[in-house]
């Protein structure tokens, strides 16, 4: 596996973990979790609780950055309560005035992140924080620049889809054929990035929505960043609601073809 180019003579470099899998998390590794939220009043406390539990159990240093886009349902008020409960060094509130989109939410969040690793995930409990220690372990194991959660490999999977899963599988197959991305789950959004890698990628990406998640991986491959994968389970809790309309399919295809033709 091509490894991220390090100066091979730096004796004190914490990236030496790749030679010694038993190396403890160095005191300087810190993980910033970016949580863009919109109307997540119910889910935010739960996801924060699970994150705190996971990090405390694994002993990794962390912070959670909540980027709320002016939710009208009181998400920010709940976030403030959480900040009081867990401390402002662990829960950072960095809201914005209105719904400005995911890409800019990440950029905004990164500006306030003090960690050297960034974790992005959904705030609606479809991504479970219990996988984060596995992401961290995988990253150290292979000294990866990016670790991506996959629903399609190993014992990764999905709960709560039915017809939708069939469509998604076809879509994923198309992305594999057209883009040959080298990762099994291209549209996933549960990932760990080195901070400087994410910054570099954000500069280069132009798409919106979840096509942007696809573009990040494609660009990462172009720039020769290394990507590891961890199987994750994805729990879709919005029952009965068909979130996959014709619109989504069309925009996905458009995005896919654009990436196909431009990268």
């Amino acid at each position: 596996m091509a490894s991220h180019s390090d100066s091979s003579s730096s004796a004190g470099s914490q990236r030496r973990g790749v030679r010694n899998p038993a190396a403890r998390a160095t005191a300087t590794d810190k993980y910033s979790v970016l949580l863009p939220t919109y109307n997540e009043r119910e889910n935010l406390p739960l996801i924060v609780w699970l994150l705190v539990k996971s990090f405390e159990e694994s002993g990794n240093n962390y912070e959670i950055i909540v980027i709320d886009d002016g939710s009208p349902d009181g998400t920010q008020e709940v976030a403030q309560q959480l900040e009081k409960i867990y401390g402002p060094d662990k829960i950072l509130l960095r809201p914005r005035a209105k719904k400005l989109g995911l890409g800019t939410a990440y950029i905004h969040g990164m500006q306030h992140a003090t960690g050297n690793f960034i974790i992005i995930m959904d705030a609606d409990l479809s991504h479970h924080p219990k996988f984060i220690p596995e992401f961290i372990r995988k990253q150290k194991e292979g000294n990866f620049d990016i670790v991506s959660g996959t629903r399609y490999k190993g014992n990764g999977g999905v709960y709560g889809w039915d017809l939708k899963r069939k469509i998604i599988r076809v879509a994923n197959f198309l992305t594999q054929i057209l883009l040959r991305p080298g990762v099994s789950d291209l549209t996933g959004s549960f990932r760990l990035y080195r901070k400087e890698v994410l910054q570099k990628l954000m500069e280069k990406c132009v798409s919106k929505g979840y096509v942007f998640q696809m573009e990040m991986i494609v660009r990462a491959r172009q720039l020769n960043f290394t990507i590891g994968e961890v199987p994750i389970s994805f729990v879709d809790r919005v029952y009965g609601e068909s979130k996959l309309g014709g619109n989504e399919i069309v925009s996905f295809l458009k995005g896919l073809l654009t990436l196909f033709a431009t990268t």
Binding site: E40, L50, V158, V235, R237, V238
Partner: protein, 102 residues
């Protein structure tokens, strides 16, 4: 080169080779049997590629993991979390507790 570029150039290259063979542009003189195989080759390959795709898709759909246990574990943890947070002083105010996104 873009992925589209790679596809186009590969396809063009293959087409040229096939045309050369079919028209015998290199004057290598083939038997009729060889000719009978070469001419319909693109169609054969297309059909094979199509079947392979369908088979792969079918296999992947069939083996798609349905994580029941993950959903149940999550459900239990949600209850644990709500209780713990309430004890730490979290107040959610009065609203219908919806299971997912509003």
């Amino acid at each position: 080169m873009t992925k589209l570029g790679q596809w186009i150039s590969t396809l063009l290259a293959l087409m040229l080779i096939w045309l050369c063979l079919v028209q015998d542009l290199l004057n290598l003189g083939y038997s009729q049997k060889f000719h009978d195989v070469i001419v319909p080759l693109p169609v054969y390959l297309l059909v094979t590629a199509g079947s392979y795709s369908l088979a792969t898709l079918g296999l992947r759909l069939a083996s798609f993991n349905d994580c029941e246990e993950a959903a149940q574990e999550l459900f239990l943890q949600i209850q644990e979390a709500q209780a713990d947070l309430a004890s730490k002083g979290l107040k959610l105010g009065s609203s219908e507790a919806a299971p997912g996104r509003p």
